[in-house]
């Protein structure tokens, strides 16, 4: 087995989960987005999305800020520097192995 494929074992398991990978990929492509936007664009249920966001926040990969825009409550999510670094590393490992 080549060393590159063996490195697949090192991929970050928090990001590797498909729904979380989708959320992280989306947040990596934008500056910031709120819960409703992530819900609409990923197609995940609100409960499912909420759980995945909590896990990403616990890991320190995303930062969540609760605020308001007029009467509309905004739960704004953005990727942290650590999240960006882990995501970039994840992509590098996957690309090298596949």
């Amino acid at each position: 087995m080549s060393a590159k494929i063996q490195r697949l074992g090192e991929v970050d398991r928090i990001i590797h989960e498909p729904a979380r990978l989708m959320v992280v990929a989306l947040l990596a492509a934008v500056k910031e987005a709120d819960f409703q936007y992530l819900h609409q664009s990923t197609g995940l249920t609100k409960g499912n999305l909420s759980v995945h966001l909590s896990k990403l926040e616990e890991a320190g990969y995303i930062a969540i800020q609760k605020t308001f825009r007029g009467k509309y409550p905004l739960t704004i999510c953005r990727l942290t520097d650590l999240g960006r670094e882990v995501f970039a590393n994840y992509r590098k490992v996957i690309r090298a192995a596949l």
């Binding site: 498909p18 729904a19 989708m22 989306l26 990596a28 492509a29 934008v30 987005a33 995940l44 905004l74």
Partner: protein
Amino acid sequence: MQNSSSLPRLDDPNVLAQRLIQKAHNQDGLPEIVMGITWLLISGLIYAQFALPHGSIGFKIAVLTLAIFGPALILGTPAALKWVRRRYFIERVGYVQHKPAGRKQIGFGILGVVLVAGVLFGVVPRLSRPDGWLLAGTGVFGGAIVALGGRLPRFLVNGALMAATGMILACSGVSLDRGFAILYGFEGVVCLVSGGVVCLRFMRQPLETGE
């Protein structure tokens, strides 16, 4: 809605993210409505230039408005779209702040403008029947941008219709100004209709509240 076990393949997360962003951008039909209004305004101003007597006040206003506000209308559509969305649709579409355009995107944009200008001023005038080529080229090029930019079936149909209209107008021998007025007017109506239908369907969806 889908759960995490039925997600599409994630070969390249960035490609997937761009597709999701594009889909979210077009889900409410607003981009098409704004584009439709813009095309109809431009078409109306072009029409006014050959319908009104040359030198009349209306003619001068139409020429000046098109020259000054035409580019502003096209460049201003993203800002108008953002404002309308944040003002009236935020509860449905959510809030997103996109990254500013990178050097690569700006470079491609400038290259595109230079290429189009080169073809427009360097190649087209040397062809026989340049008016026809210009109409056909605008239809095909515009249709390709619409189809590739939207990446959804309705945009493919919209782009194909624009390309076909451009080619039909080119073959019909219609004058350039009339041809552009018809092409942009037709494209404006198509955008307005498809965007309007999508927007109505989107607004009819029940609004989910809570997280």
